[in-house]
């Protein structure tokens, strides 16, 4: 039996990344730099770092992810791979899903590697349920990636595409960033209940995943 189309796309993207490791390396180093820069710029005490750490982790991931997302479709432009993919009978949504899951995995790897560094640099000790972060981070990351992969495909055929992607992605992503930061801060400081924000993030993910899957075909074949 033939595997589903999106699995083929996913496998191809994982293969590409496994051989080059471009995206993960650049993201990892970039996120590390952001963490170091913020730490130097604000020089927070332990109490203060608990309050801002959630925000910094999210923002660092966001910037790092954008640098990699710019490359997500750009690597398909070489040798007209994208045009070839457009001619295949596979539905566009499958292609999108494969690409989104691949990038989601890359960013998750970066987060997992970064988390211990983060804990050390910011002297972190979560006061709330730390394991809830394992729910918040994937949800927030998926919100970022699903929109990011979509808008990267949207901006691929424009001028200054590297500049355009963050400009159109960030305004749309703001509510999810808010949800991610608020729930991470609630978990780290132990004040307030993150449950509402986690539900909100899940709702955001469902809404935008649906929208992206529905409209991807349109932007893929935009002439």
């Amino acid at each position: 039996m033939r595997p589903a189309y999106f699995l083929l796309h996913l496998k191809k993207d994982l293969h590409l990344e496994w051989r080059s490791k471009d995206a993960i390396n650049s993201m990892l180093f970039f996120a590390l730099l952001v963490v170091v820069l913020f730490s130097l710029a604000f020089d927070p005490t332990q109490d203060a770092s608990r309050k801002i750490a959630g925000g910094i982790l999210c923002v660092a991931t966001m910037f790092a992810a954008v640098s990699a997302l710019n490359q997500a479709w750009a690597r398909e432009l070489r040798n007209q791979v994208l045009d070839a993919l457009r001619m295949t009978p596979a539905p566009g949504a499958a292609m999108f899903l494969g690409k989104a899951i691949a990038n989601f995995l890359f960013v998750t790897v970066v987060e997992i590697v970064l988390a211990p560094v983060f804990v050390v640099f910011y002297n972190l000790h979560a006061l709330g349920n730390a394991w809830l972060l394992a729910l918040v981070l994937p949800l927030g990351t998926w919100a970022l990636i699903v929109n990011g992969v979509f808008f990267a495909a949207l901006s691929i055929r424009t001028r200054n595409r590297e500049l355009l992607l963050p400009l159109i992605l960030f305004p749309i992503f703001i509510p999810a960033l808010l949800g991610m930061v608020m729930s991470a801060t609630a978990i780290l400081t132990g004040e307030g209940d993150p449950a509402m924000w986690i539900k909100f993030l899940a709702g955001y993910d469902v809404a935008f995943t649906t929208l992206c899957m529905m409209l991807f075909e349109v932007i893929l074949h935009a002439e």
Binding site: R159, I168, P171, I172, P175, F208, I219, E223
Partner: protein
Amino acid sequence: MKLWRWLWLAVTLGVLAEGFHVAMYVVPPDAAQGNVQRIFYYHIPSWAGMGLFFAINLICSLVYLAVRNRNHALAIKADSLAVASAEMGVVFCLIGLVTGSLWGRAVWGIWWTWDARLTSTLVLWLIYVAYLLLRRFAAGPQMRTLAAVMAIFGYVDVPIVYMSTRWWRTQHPGPVFGGAPGSGIAPSMMPAVWWNLAGWLMWGIFVASLRYVSQYREEVKEQEAGLAALEAHEIKAGR
């Protein structure tokens, strides 16, 4: 057509003048805030205009996506109207933010607070500026499709943004909010609201119609140039 436009402009200016007169001299000052509250008569019409034009933008984007491969003339019209209404909506949004900020300075003592409504409006403004930027950066007919998709994303995001910022601020109640206008207004003030609402919406429709016509002509010209180039190419190729 031209005559109608001039007539419309004349009536608009008349209504705006009357609106100014009623808002500044006829209706009584607010019991609590005094004359500062009169900026409200310019604040409310800009929100109404923003809501109207962003809704038009969404409808036009949907129409464009639906008919772009079947009815080309209608698609170009829808796209032109989408641009005109998005630009007008951004202008109204900015006017609303600025008038609100002026009022906030006088009544709250600060220009800006990260209150739910203010934040979500600012995000809304950012989204539509991003939409206009996308239109500038992308080129050719594909840009219209991409922009229409972006418009749908933006509009879907609006209620989500509002919900998130409201939760955000209910967890940490803002220190200055609580004197919000709009929670009921005295009947004696209503004439000023109506006149200005009518006047500014008419003004918005006037400017948007001018912008629509210029955009429409440009897109038609672009398309004709493209067709002419294609024909010339085919003749040269001897087909």
